[in-house]
Amino acid sequence: MIKGKEFQNLTEVTVRFAGDSGDGMQLTGSQFSDTTAVWGNDLSTLPDYPAEIRAPSGTVYGVSGFQLHFGSMDVHTPGDRPDILVAMNPAAIRKNLPELKQGGIIIANTDAFDAKNLKLAKYDTNPLEDNSLLGFEVYPVPITSLTIKALENTKLSQKEISRCKNFFALGLMYWLYNRPLDQTIDWIKKKFKDKPEFIDANRNALIAGYNFGENTELFTIRYDVKPAQLPKGVYRSISGNEATALGCLAASVKSGLPLFLGSYPITPATEILQYLSNYKNFGVKTFQAEDEIAGITSAIGASFAGNLALTTTSGPGLALKSEALGLALMTELPLVVINVQRGGPSTGLPTKTEQADLLQAMYGRNGESPLAVIASSTPSDCFYMAFEAFRIAIKYMCPVILLTDGYLANGSEPWKIPHVNELPEIPVKFWTDKSTYQTYLRDEFLARPWAKPGTPGLEHRIGGLEKANITGAVSYDHDNHDLMVKLRDQKIKNIAKDIPDLVVDGDEEGELLVLGWGGTLGAITEAVIRLRKAGYKVSQAHLKYLNPMPANTEKVVRSFKKVLIPEINLGQLSKIIRSEFLIPVEQFNLVRGLPFKSMDIEEKIIDLLGGKI
């Protein structure tokens, strides 16, 4: 190490990479995350990219960002405000500067600050030179030209060379935060195994960036973030969508049923279909359907035929699946629907996150049509909730909607991998006895028997028309309809006896409970932890089961003078809690297409407590 370059210890850092959507920022960010995870930090990530695949370069709306928050302590969120911004062009500064912490670091690719890009970013003068960045620590680095220089001996075209600049930036960041390069080099080798010239170029750019940090006089300080104290075990970094896919696969293995996924590509749910398409040697059948409706209806057919049936989608797709969901609950077939929520209504904000499909999931069908609704609260939790969705669907012979969201789907965190033998079995019982079979016979949970086509003697008909209880014959009888409507409702309510109680973190009663659901867990937890440290009395509970809710939910919410429900919608859970329990609740709603910042929730809590500790 060159003299004068000292290490400063930090407990946590929030980094944001930003550049054109063609600059490879998502790749750079995920490489930094993987290396950081293996290094031993706890972390949470937030990719934030435009809906356009390659928006016009240099524009503000074309900026693609990747934020990660890592530390030597427990990390619950991707970080409120970045400590450091890597800006590959002026638009990246224009877009991200308002979020950057006061005194934060900016590493700017000076080569991209030409007249054209400045104009596209709506700068009259170069912000690197006009003192407008006073108060920030700015490091101007000619990243493109340094990359070109480092790769001058390769046979690649100028264009190909300049596309390696993200690896230069990554190398520099590895130097600055003292991370090893080997993991990314291994990745490069694998990725470009058929193109050796790209292996050399990307690796050399990475090393050049690292060495630049080491040799330049620009940087005098490096940062060290020690590994976090995580529970013992083997870890991997996991995104919500990958965890969801693996959870579905695990349910297939543990139920012994082949998994069938009928799905139509839709952002941000598509990856689940992509992952599951790889698992053919697990017997997984993926059917890329002609539309959303065929996605769910093919899955209903698969369920009727005795398979583990799944369909995946996002908001607009769930709307299209509504009628078919009614069919699944009327015919009482097990089916899991995963809705990766995105900004709505209509096409809305396809690549951004939101929690505004709760009411659609709960009530968005004709007739009295209750079904089970559950939600994941972190990226790795998607694994367990996908598994849980199938357990409920099979045991209660009903559709289950699992709500995740764009933030959980694309965000990642370290995951302590469970062993397969630690996962519970999912018992499956197909009916075979023809002497006792009746289509709508009820077991102790009110579930009807699952009789698989191909079983001799159990030939039967089901359908969307109302059925006589027990026999399953089409029935227009008034009293029978009343009975069936109530039975279907009771069956779903019975699930409450079969799920864990709502856990209160903090005092069991008191002034204020912050009640959340879904992907806001991290932001709420961080806010509550910080405020408790500061002496505030505040408790927290998080709902993973929305329909039915845990049996003790009413008791919990009645144990506090005030209940605050932060949601990335206009108060959908608030509405449900009010109407179910007849209690007033406080709302906190920001619908910006982004996850909450914990500081926003903190402010609201302090406000509700009247600033009282």
Binding site: L230, A294, A324
Partner: protein, 345 residues
């Protein structure tokens, strides 16, 4: 070793496929004939066990069909029968999957599912009950109603141009396409058995009379006085002849069809097109499908086309086998612990 343990297969009869449900179609409805022909044909299906048969339907008069068949059955939602049947077949390829559907169900609300099931060649048997009217909603024009038809929603005559279901199926690359009428019971049974034997999507358009809302739509094809001149029964390898004494035939010049009398103007039977269902080119089957565009031609019945192409359900199975051979049976523990993992001690 004695063979006396051998269990003798009892041959099923049409009655074995009837349920205890009262059939609730209108008296005189063509659907009764279709139900009867299916029940009569099914005992003859080779290598198909009763418990492996599944009937899927959507919404409409035709879609009550599964309730009357003592097989597995699913009366689903409007238009979605082909998609639900696709899920049944792909997930459980051992089943024999049949779709009962109508002109509104399959060609209007379900059009998208139908063309994709054809294109993907899912191994389904699709029976289209085409009565050219919406029956269950009591008489509105359908996608197969003729232009100008007066119905409750077209009091001044329909302004829609109708689909030709056979042409649509051929255009969507269906691998088996046939047509029959509800009145010719023997011929319908033949078509049902042919469809059952086809590996891939088998589509049969059945002209079906709706006695209440479109009675007599097919009278010209069924009246004794006219039917010989109006119907063309297509048979594999045989010249396309029709008429009371089979004196008329279909000739094709280039892509232009015409009707010739084989006993006149120096014509002979050698001028008549010989039907080839297995022709790989779709051109001649498409020309035959469009004979109904003009009243000068008879309406063809029989198999327009049968070709062989891998089914998507079969291809999915094949890929699973191949990948499993290559990679070995999936090991979840290994998969979970794959990729970049690290240990915390």
């Amino acid at each position: 070793m004695a063979d006396n343990n051998e269990i003798k297969e009892v041959k099923l009869t049409a009655k074995d496929f009837a349920t205890d449900q009262d059939v609730r179609w209108c008296p005189g409805c063509g659907d009764y004939s279709i139900l009867a022909q299916v029940q009569r044909s099914f005992p003859d299906l080779v290598n198909v066990k009763k418990e492996d048969i599944v009937w899927i339907s959507g919404i409409g008069c035709s879609s009550r069909f599964p309730y009357y068949m003592d097989t597995y059955g699913f009366h689903t939602i409007h238009g979605r029968a082909p998609a639900i049947a696709t899920g049944v077949k792909i997930s459980n390829p051992g089943l024999s999957v049949w779709v009962a559907t109508g002109d509104g169900d399959l060609l209007s609300i379900g059009g998208n599912h139908f063309i994709h099931a054809c294109r993907k060649n899912i191994d389904l048997k699709v029976l289209l009950f085409n009565n050219r009217i919406y029956g269950l909603t009591k008489g509105q024009y359908s996608p197969t109603s003729e232009k100008g038809k007066k119905t409750k929603t077209s009091p001044y005559g329909s302004v829609d141009f109708p689909f030709n279901p056979v042409s649509l199926a051929l255009g969507a690359e269906a691998t088996f396409v046939a047509r029959c009428t509800d009145r010719d019971t023997k011929h319908m049974q033949q078509m049902i058995k042919r469809a059952a034997d086809h590996k891939g999507i088998a589509f049969i358009e059945i002209f079906q009379n709706c006695v209440i809302f479109n009675d007599g739509a097919f009278d010209a094809l069924t009246d004794k006085a006219t039917k010989d001149d109006m119907l063309l029964y297509m048979e594999q390898g045989k010249p396309l002849l029709f008429g009371k004494n089979k004196e008329k035939g279909i000739k094709i010049d280039g892509a232009v069809p015409s009707v010739i009398n084989i006993n006149e103007n120096g014509n002979s039977i050698n001028d008549v097109l010989v039907h080839d269902e297995f022709d790989l080119s779709p051109v001649r089957s498409t020309i035959l499908a469009h004979l109904t565009d003009s009243t000068e031609f008879p309406t063809p019945l029989g198999v327009f086309r049968q070709i062989f192409r891998p089914t998507v359900d079969g291809e999915i199975e094949r890929q699973i086998e191949e990948v499993t051979m290559k990679k070995g049976v999936g090991d979840l523990e290994k998969l979970l612990f794959s990729g970049n993992t690290w240990e915390v001690n």
